[in-house]
Symmetry: C2
Subunit: 149 residues, 2 copies
């Protein structure tokens, strides 16, 4: 049934891939992927999210929220690895990437729950993102406890 669905959609020639665009970029002091903290909230790293001018209207009213869900595209991540040793610990058993928070995965999408500190023009000052400087941002939403916890 899964194959049937896939083949049907392939026939329609529009579901094989999707074109995501950067709506902004992470600006942070993290420039080295190896030294980046393992997960945003493990270190209280502050970062800026710079939204591109053409998407600034999408930010109207965002300042009312204290927590946001930020989705990034980890452009440096390995997309071909399907199993990893969690937390880079070679003694941990190989685990499928969908069962880990490794950046390696077929679509290197990261989801961060961040604290919104302030909004300054097209920039959001946030706490809780460990992505390297220049990481593309795909989306921002309010974090809603009822939905996300």
């Amino acid at each position: 049934m899964g194959m049937f669905l896939k083949d049907t959609l392939r026939g329609a020639n529009r579901m094989d891939q999707f074109h995501a665009v950067p709506v902004g970029y992470v600006r942070s002091d993290v420039t080295d992927r190896v030294r980046a903290p393992r997960q945003g909230r493990d270190a209280s790293v502050n970062a800026m999210i710079e939204i591109l001018p053409e998407y600034s209207d999408a930010m109207d009213g965002i300042g009312q929220w204290s927590q946001l869900l930020v989705t990034c595209w980890l452009h440096l991540a390995d997309r071909d690895t399907l199993a990893v040793h969690p937390r880079g610990d070679a003694s941990a058993p190989l685990t499928g990437v969908f069962g880990t928070r490794s950046p390696a995965r077929p679509n290197p999408v990261a989801v961060y729950t961040v604290d919104l500190i302030s909004v300054e023009g097209n920039s959001l000052n946030v706490r809780g993102i460990d992505a390297v400087d220049g990481t593309p941002v795909l989306d921002i939403k309010p974090h809603v406890h009822r939905l996300d916890d």
Copy 2:
């Protein structure tokens, strides 16, 4: 500074868009976008996630988790709307889509926190996804309270 960064990356000709691929599809009884529940957890809808065979190795060990973060690409969503009336309520003030959970947004990425009920072969039985049948899945991760709440 944002423009400078963007222009630099444009020069490198690799950061303008990203090619996301479906790793699977949502199978559910929700076939009508208008009648779809507004947010997954507002209705206790059960759905299946069918992972494509070529990504099945990425599922190894996923059954140990009780909650997952599932990222979908809302292929029917409007990508050109930057502001909406939240919850479709015309009396609510127009709000930038980054400050709402509307499916309309430049990259129609949905993030669902779901309960994992069972794993059956390449399929995950989950509760908490309101996406219509056939919605492409981009990624699955464990939901970790320390990071995601």
